[in-house]
């Protein structure tokens, strides 16, 4: 067990270093000197040189790379160009809001998607199956901001059930939930569309297995077959795919936060883009990389919990 965990963690660290290296080079290889991007075309050469020195961009690439990597691991992610505060504290301030939103969306997506997918698989090639498949395909065709705008219009403006702007800073539990509701529904419905599709195909695969036929032949009731024999085996691909969809979830959370004007990583990154806060952008890429790597690691480790046959060796 511990050997497997160590191996996965080693792989996670490798991925982390590799992505961070790519981040480092993407930011530097792309044309457009950050100093010039920050100061604009009108800036004098002198002020550009000054800023380059302040950002450390005049040093050799290898020194910059070492400092960047060392900084990431000790939590020194530089200082925001705009606010002057450390990047990491700015990020940590809004991270809980984004995590709250994405976790709520995942729970909603799974609670809706898994039963729908299983139902569609059981009633394969009948009307419920067609409806579920079409609905899920429609759901994943929605750009997150389009569905967000429509939800906002329907349930915050036309029917004023929820706040138009969610501050994300409600003090009571009820107020927080009220703020969270529409953004989480928006993200959750899109996630549900993806999860429904995976659950359906995973369930179909399991239903075709020999042990299911054996169980049927033994005369076990249909619901017992589904609950005891199929569901657990369906979960492995579902968990894998949910891990893979993290990128989509993150992208959609950015758009959702913008539409609902909710504090979080999404608004932070867009603010950094508009204000050309170059150090902040780099920090954002680091935190997204960390999130992806950690979730992938968790996904790997979850397998063992679901399926004891997977030996951690």
């Amino acid at each position: 067990m511990s050997g497997f965990v160590l191996k996965r963690m080693g792989f996670a660290v490798f991925t982390l270093i590799a992505v961070l290296t790519i981040v480092f080079f993407i930011v530097r290889i792309l044309p457009g000197d950050p100093a010039m991007v920050i100061l604009g075309d009108q800036a004098s050469q002198q002020s550009i040189d000054l800023l380059r020195a302040r950002l450390g961009l005049d040093r050799p690439m290898i020194v910059q790379y070492y400092d960047f990597m060392a900084g990431v691991f000790v939590g020194d992610w530089g200082v925001s160009m705009v606010s002057g505060r450390p990047v990491i504290s700015e990020i940590l301030k809004v991270l809980p809001a984004t995590l709250e939103l994405t976790i709520a969306a995942l729970i909603l997506g799974a609670a809706l998607g898994i039963p729908l997918g299983v139902w569609a698989a059981i009633s394969r090639n009948t009307v419920p199956d067609y409806i579920v498949r079409l609905a899920s395909l429609l759901g994943l065709s929605f750009p997150a901001f389009v569905s967000a705008v429509l939800l906002l219009f329907a349930f915050a403006i036309y029917l004023p059930w929820f706040p138009v702007m969610s501050s994300g800073r409600g003090t009571t539990f009820g107020a927080r939930m009220n703020d969270l509701a529409l953004p989480a529904i928006n993200l959750g419905l899109i996630m549900a569309a993806y999860i429904t599709r995976v659950s359906r195909s995973a369930m179909l695969e399991v239903l075709g297995q020999d042990y299911v036929r054996t169980a049927k032949a033994k005369g076990i009731s249909f619901s017992a077959i589904i609950w005891r024999h199929c569901l657990r085996n369906t979960m492995i691909p579902v968990v894998t795919v949910v891990g893979l969809y993290l990128g989509i979830l993150i992208g959609n959370s950015v758009l959702t936060e913008i539409v609902f004007n909710r504090p979080g990583l999404g608004r932070l990154i867009v603010g950094a883009l508009n204000q050309r806060d170059y150090t902040m952008l780099q920090g954002m890429m680091v935190i997204y990389t960390l999130l992806v790597v950690v979730v992938n690691l968790l996904t790997d480790l979850t397998y063992g919990l679901i399926d004891p046959r997977i030996k951690y060796s």
């Binding site: 044309p31 065709s141 750009p143 758009l255 883009l273």
Partner: protein, 301 residues
Amino acid sequence: MSTQDPATNVTNVSYFRLTLKALGSGLIKAFNTNKTSWVGLGLFGFVCLLAVLAPLIAPHDPLDQNILDRLEGPSREYWMGTDAYGRDILSRILHGARISLMIGLVSISAALLIGTTIGLVAGYVGGKTDIIVMQIMDVLLAFPSLILGLIVVAMLGPSISNLIIAIALTAIPPFARIARAPTIVVKEREFVEAGRALGYSNIRLMGGHILPNILPEVLVMGFLWLATAIRVEASLAFIGLGVSPPTATWGGMIREGFENILDSFWLAFFPSIAILVVVFALNLLGDGLRDAIDPRLRGES
């Protein structure tokens, strides 16, 4: 998927015709597997037609500002209303389709070409090259594509060509992955062995013999990723990283419409529907075809 043996004594020309014919009948069969593919194709074709004919059929100039008619609701003169500058929404949607489809088609064609080549070569060569190349692709794949696109466009500046570069970059790894998997299987097949025994070059084996066999899967992915590309382009435009105004883009129109959502919802509504229709059509098309070529599902319906 065509399984004829190209290493037999068929001349190149007749082999080519044979392949085309097999591809044609195979395609029709694939479309018939899942009838929704036809619906998707029809819808997408219709949108493409509208986009191509936009300059001829648009009732107004998409950039023509008519301050007296600003923020008007749908009427006989303006079928979908006008925006804050008095521009005709319908005409802007029709012209916006050209931008969306162009960016999507060019970026995905580029990604398909580059990604498939990477996957094909990595799978064919195997060994350490394969491991290293695919590891890099997996790492790139792990990064959220919208964020990657956002950073690239922000650094390069929002223009049509930079958007194409950003979207193509995020779509290369999935194509490499989808091309590699069948390559590994196909390269062990007899006809490839036969070709090798006949002394065919590696490039000829890859391009002429393996590629036609993995092409269906790659093309189906192409439709699904075209949907994603159009969604990403619109998302970037919504964030403010689209083709610069006043050019009409769907994402940009929704961004502008969002500012007036309280009193003039149609500004954001109609372009939203436009994006939804195109993405849904492409997903229907790609999804239906994927069922058709999925070996696990073959022969069942």
